[in-house]
Symmetry: D2
């Protein structure tokens, strides 16, 4: 019972939302999956000074983690649960200064192309003020 291989990607992700668990990295970075639908995933993040770079701004790697997570979950909504996949390429634009005081971020990932073996997606990170802080795209391969 509870045959996880029989779940679709969306059903699997809905379980992660219900259980408030995403991944070890997600937990370390204070990120959580908020919503999923066909070709779309929404991830929230709570940046803090723990994630600062030398210049006392949120590290570019923090936003990269958030974008990669939202992109990957969006892609996973197009797959069966037991299908392996991975990011082969990630591209990010940082467009606004981000500090701990900025507060809760929401990143929405959207699939642009869903091929049999290659999928691409885009994602955008907004702050509580609705302003865009970063955007990116990713390319994913499905493993046989």
């Amino acid at each position: 019972m509870n045959d996880s291989a029989a779940l679709s990607g969306i059903e699997y992700l809905q379980g992660l939302i219900r259980d408030r668990t995403l991944s070890p990295m997600g937990a370390a970075m204070k990120m959580a999956l908020v919503a999923v639908s066909d070709g779309r995933a929404e991830v929230e993040a709570f940046p803090s000074e723990k994630f600062y770079n030398q210049q006392r701004r949120i590290h570019g790697g923090y936003l990269a983690t958030l974008l990669d997570t939202a992109l990957g979950c969006a892609v996973q909504t197009k797959l069966a649960q037991n299908v392996g996949y991975g990011t082969i390429e990630l591209k990010i634009n940082y467009v606004r200064k981000l500090v701990a005081e900025t507060g809760r971020l929401v990143c929405v990932g959207t699939v642009l192309h869903a091929g049999r073996t290659m999928l691409t997606a885009e994602a955008k990170v907004a702050g509580p003020d609705g302003k865009l802080y970063a955007h990116g795209t990713g390319t994913f391969l499905v493993y046989p």
Copy 2:
């Protein structure tokens, strides 16, 4: 005394190596600056299961953090210490599966173009076996 604004970027980074401190994010991710020279920076990282994604591989955001750090430090070797700068764009290729057992990673960042206001750099991440795990490029702007 010890007027940090009077230091060059390289001198400032040499201080970070000596003090074994990089940034809060660097500490959280088990990364350290190992060496710097003109236009070049070397950062080491110790990935562990804490940084796993859902698929029990090292999260793409972990490698993005490592690459952004090495790229940024390479760029900083070209600047005076008191000059502000930031990543405006980061691009990563993930070319090999990375798990905790892979062990210590070394990422070398190298400046490709050093203009007055815009700098670009490339970086490569190798494992203990010398194999390439990821590579990337970044674009940086100097703030007035």
Copy 3:
């Protein structure tokens, strides 16, 4: 009279649509500007076998030209006509095989971030069947 420096970027681009002229490269590649509005530009292209690569598909550089053009014109709608600007970085995903028989392509560029000195935009290329053939993003700097 007709002081072009006094035109806005949009007015200048509207002139290009009216005069059916875009640039020497646009003419060589059979591309034309079709529509502009605030933060948006639409460019059409007529690929043919002249633009084939060795593998008898439309060359990646052809789509790069189309995407760069739509991104740049979208950015220009946010600027005054006499302001210099340039692409500093371009990223493209090729998601579907493109041959001469595919026919007329339409590329829509949309500004994502319009800062004082840096602007970013995204663009998507669709065929006559409405399918996505390529997508991309670009980063632009305004020259003083």
Copy 4:
């Protein structure tokens, strides 16, 4: 005789050098393959005002064509001649103003990762003065 399917990718490319033919797009853009070796390809280009953008500089699409060509040929040196492959993703940094007077460009592409189905490469464009004008990376998939 002359069974092209029996050629390696390098042998096939050496034939293109000998015959001074690259592709229809290469001819249209005044580009030629100059040298190939294992994991490396060198392409020359002669930019002129025909390839100008609105701002009377060489169009970003021209350099994208040059980079994609050198990246693709470098990748092809790792393949058998009859193996299909294609660019799935291309990323370019434009770092220096390029005009017709700049003269002959040389772009060297180098493979970074050669997997069974995915290959990545980097390329750099230099002018007659040895200065860097653009650099980029690409991701390629091999078709079964």
